[in-house]
Symmetry: C2
Subunit: 479 residues, 2 copies
């Protein structure tokens, strides 16, 4: 049982120290740790050092792991360190691994920000605006704030905490997978469960726990024929045109309303069970939110449940574009000699990337054979990532749900997401432990967009949530 | 009857003055009269003045018509003058209008030229290499060389010549159509037939007369839905994707082997008559030439006749590309909100651009309706040009065929072309006179490419051909 007095004191301390936490976030936002900009690499290191100073202050033992160099824009650059931290080492306590990242997306005032993206400002509604406020500096500092609060109120920390903060998340997480594999039986050995706070509520008022992500298989389909681009006046009608072939192949992939036509692709989609169906009833989501996000009424489904299921529990196929064809404004009578069409399939349990590739390859070759064209076809899966789904019945999720009830006085939505967060699956596969996504920010935070924000309410209650979650983890039966 | 002694003397003079003609061409090539480059506009004027000096020297009365200004790359530029020349005014003689252009395509040494494109050089096989040598400075100077030769050998010129040389052919022929319409009943009033030397032999050894060109209808098909580009992870499967709709529409346009599927499009194609079929028997063309040009063996037909017919007497449809989708190398998981697909139909007699547009519009709207998509479709014909076909039985062609026999000792091929030369139809429609295309250069001259050349043989025999053609015109019965 969680000690309610302890929680009460913890909440009181957090409420009284809001401005201190905001100042701390302001300091972090002021360091433009953009991992995809070679000129900002020094700032990423600076941000790592800023965290190390905080680790020291809080008595967190740490290692700043050097994961080598990489090449970007023709330059060889040192990769920012992956910070591994340990707080507590009591064999009687559970050990929770928390992951986050201290690098951020690029941001320029002229992109359309209303204020300097590197100066955290609070507007009249309590929105803390600045790059990285929500993605992911607010959440990672949230964990540290929770530790500090426990120290200040003189309460024992409920779990052993392992920390993994990287500085390359927005640029491919280079070096991370290798490190996780290497440390799985060492640094990460005693971990009982993983918690990642790096996503968002579905909407703007109700917290959620996220238990699933779609995978992705990205394909590049190349049709080639002539040795050079040709003039359609001189050659149109006399040669097999790669563009015609590619367009016909692409037309066979998916229907306008999103049904994938490639045989075998839908076979492994997990059956929709009653328990899962039940979770959709209470979810805070309105079609108007989708229509507002897509700035149109071109949604396929007229109800929330089907829309959410289509987003996160069924596969989808999107055609992204064609490389090698005419793509500029205006008029050009070119007959392209080689065209590469790009599409991707968002995959769901229990689809497997290798089987997806096999189905796509077989189908496209068969269909290409039917064309009777003399051109050549090449099918390539350039990137395949598995879907991820966790069990919301696991004690890790139950502890988080209990924490949400104590902090927000409501049951959390159980959500999935349509995109992918590769590290989630990496941790689950490497450690074979339950992974929970426990977001701090709201669905409208604009993580990769202009005017990124974290509401002061979400920040403050988020610190309470992360701390309370750890108390619930300590209290819950883990068998 | 043509006076054979006169021709003999004319040929002898041309042969003896080859180097003089090459020097004259060298002077012209040295003026980089690139009409599509604002920084070269002065050179286009310089080239016009160079011709005017030659007109004066040869006693050709002329007018350099100012056709105003145009805007290019944000600059207002003076259009180069259209040179109208008159040589002879004998009511007993026929009047032939010759058209050509004194501007050229751009050229840079670094594009892959083996020598400075603005310095005419002759290689060991007699290829005169330089920008504009074949397109179209060689031919226009050819007419003037023929006049000069007649003066030098003291022989009366066989016809009245009207000259129309423009300086904007490679950049949309701005101002030309209006001028032709305006002068049809004035300057062009007495014209009996038109001769344009601005295309090429089909191959490299046999002269041809060209009597047909395909037209073109260029379409822009826009499908739009969401108000902004979306992330395929978040939205894939829940919205109607414009790219999916466009791809399906495009797949219904044409088969891989070039059969246009739009109802009504093929209805007006002129029937293939025996006389026309006969013309294909003797044409100098081998499939290997096509395969060499396309640098592959992806030709649809396994014989020359069907290939040539597909190129110039049947319509074709080519899909050029898509604007608004992802077109760069690499991977991007964008779901484009608005995509504009571009395709064109090469049209043939008796197809009509308005009817083509009506068929395309109706078909695409019907097919789009079947998709059940909530996206929006826009169908636009951005450019429509009629096909052109002339009668090779007309005295104008017969005179040219006779001239070919006298200069080259063979019957010319009767050819058409798959592309379009809009001024051909403009002259025919405005003057209601027969138009003949009488090329000087070979099929491998590389008119818009690097290392453009005109063979010395073609240049010299071409001068003879143009002069002899005028003698044949004078001798032939024109009713």
């Amino acid at each position: 049982m969680v000690n309610e007095t302890v929680l009460k004191n913890f909440f009181k301390y957090v409420d009284e120290n809001q401005d201190h936490y905001v100042d701390r976030l302001r300091e972090a936002v002021a360091i433009p740790s953009v991992s995809s900009d070679p000129d900002r690499r020094e700032d990423v290191f600076r941000m790592g050092n800023w965290l190390i100073e905080l680790f020291k202050k809080l008595g967190i033992s740490y290692e700043a792991v050097d994961v080598g160099n990489h090449v970007m824009s023709g330059k060889t650059l040192k990769l920012p360190p992956i910070l591994l931290g340990s707080y507590g080492n009591d064999p009687k306590k559970k050990t929770i691994l928390v992951y986050g990242h201290y690098d951020v997306q690029p941001a320029l005032l002229e992109d359309g920000w209303n204020s300097d993206p590197w100066k955290l400002v609070e507007d009249s509604t309590g929105r803390l605006v600045g790059r990285g406020s929500s993605d992911d500096k607010g959440p990672i500092i949230g964990w540290l704030n929770a530790i500090e609060a426990h120290q200040k109120i003189g309460v024992e920390f409920p779990v052993n905490l392992k920390i993994c903060f990287e500085g390359m998340e927005e640029n491919g997480s280079e070096g991370l997978d290798d490190l996780i594999a290497r440390e799985a039986d060492k640094y990460f050995k005693c971990v009982d469960a993983v918690c990642i706070s790096d996503n968002y509520w579905l909407g703007v008022t109700k917290p959620c726990l996220t238990y699933g992500l779609r995978g992705i298989s990205y394909f590049n389909i190349t049709v080639s024929g002539p040795g050079r681009d040709l003039h359609s006046g001189v050659f149109g009608g006399t040669v097999y045109e790669p563009m015609t072939d590619l367009i016909i192949l692409f037309s066979k992939l998916v229907t306008p309303n999103g049904k994938i036509l490639i045989p075998g692709i839908n076979d492994d989609v997990a059956e929709l069970k009653d328990e899962e169906m039940e979770t959709y009833r209470s979810i805070e989501f309105k079609l108007e939110e989708l229509q507002s996000a897509i700035e149109s009424k071109t949604n396929i489904y007229d109800n929330e449940t089907q829309t959410l299921q289509a987003r996160w529990r069924y596969p989808s196929l999107s055609i992204h574009g064609i490389e090698g064809a005419f793509s500029a404004p205006g008029v050009k009578t070119v007959l392209p000699c080689k065209v590469s069409g790009k599409f991707s399939i968002r995959s769901v349990p229990n689809m497997d990337p290798d089987k997806i590739t096999a189905c796509v390859d077989k189908f496209l070759r068969e269909e290409f054979g039917k064309l009777g064209s003399e051109n050549k076809l090449q099918v390539e899966c350039v990137h395949g990532a598995k879907p991820w789904v966790s069990s919301p019945d696991h004690w890790n999720f139950v502890a988080a749900a209990n924490a949400v009830e104590k902090v927000f006085n409501c049951k959390p939505d159980l959500t999935r997401e349509g995109g992918s967060i590769p590290v989630t699956l990496t941790f689950q596969d490497a450690l074979n432990k339950n992974v929970l996504l426990l977001p701090m920010g709201r669905g409208d935070d604009g993580a990769h967009s202009t005017n990124e924000k974290l509401d002061r309410h979400n920040y403050t209650e988020g610190i309470k949530l992360l701390g309370t979650y750890l108390h619930e983890v300590a209290a819950i039966k883990s068998t």
